[in-house]
Amino acid sequence: MRPLSSRAFNQRRDDIYSRFDRLGRVELQDLGGNTTTRKLVVDVVVPGQVGEHRLPDDARFRYQEWWRLTQLGWIRVRYDYDYFDLRSGGRRGYHLHPLSGSEPMPHVVCVLPDGSGAGRHFEAVEVDLVAAHEEFEAQYADGRSIDCRGLRSID
């Protein structure tokens, strides 16, 4: 992902907020913009029912990014993009952070509705927040349960 100027960072943040606010209730935090390390947290919760008889929440999308300020601008150095299926159970995520070594490694986390797969890591390439969200959102909107087929373990 290319470095972002502060202006571009803010524009992206605002675009993300506007988009996700049409899917669920958003809590967005932008922390550290005046320092050299910045964190963006976007929490989107979709209620199970919006009518009078409210059910438990249906889905949660939690996206966290850490950015460092360099001479080129803000560079994303770590992320955790997670989708939680609160109705059927399970979790799917794209992460970038160190695993066994010291270098950040992009990977997938995938936990099936029965809880299997917790703590395991699977191959992935770096992804953008919006691309990850589009995948999660389509899976959710289509009513598909969390599925870990086709993933290659890196543990």
Binding site: R22, R25, L28, G33, P47, R78, F84, V109, V111, G119
Partner: protein, 87 residues
């Protein structure tokens, strides 16, 4: 109006809004109505977007917190969170 499920088809939204389905598709195409694209011709509209179209005053408010002086360097060095998160 009772919104009872998380997603609606354009046809269902058209019925709720007493509009022609093509109007709803035009809203989607223009960005006025948010929809998730499942395939080239299949869209699903989140309940929140439907409420935003029909009764925007009912929407639970989202929030933005900008804290430019917050220090998150130590947070970056922490071990990654792998815990399951509930709502």
């Amino acid at each position: 109006m009772e919104i009872t499920k998380p997603f609606y088809s354009p046809h269902e939204v058209a019925e709720l809004a007493s509009l022609h389905p093509s109007t709803i598709l035009n809203y989607i195409a223009s960005g006025r109505l948010y929809a998730v694209k499942l395939s080239e011709r299949t869209y699903r509209i989140p309940a929140r977007a439907v409420i935003g179209l029909l009764e925007p005053e009912r929407l639970a408010r989202s929030s933005v917190a900008v804290e430019p002086d917050a220090h998150v360097e130590r947070d970056l060095a922490d071990e990654p969170a792998e815990e399951p998160v509930s709502a």
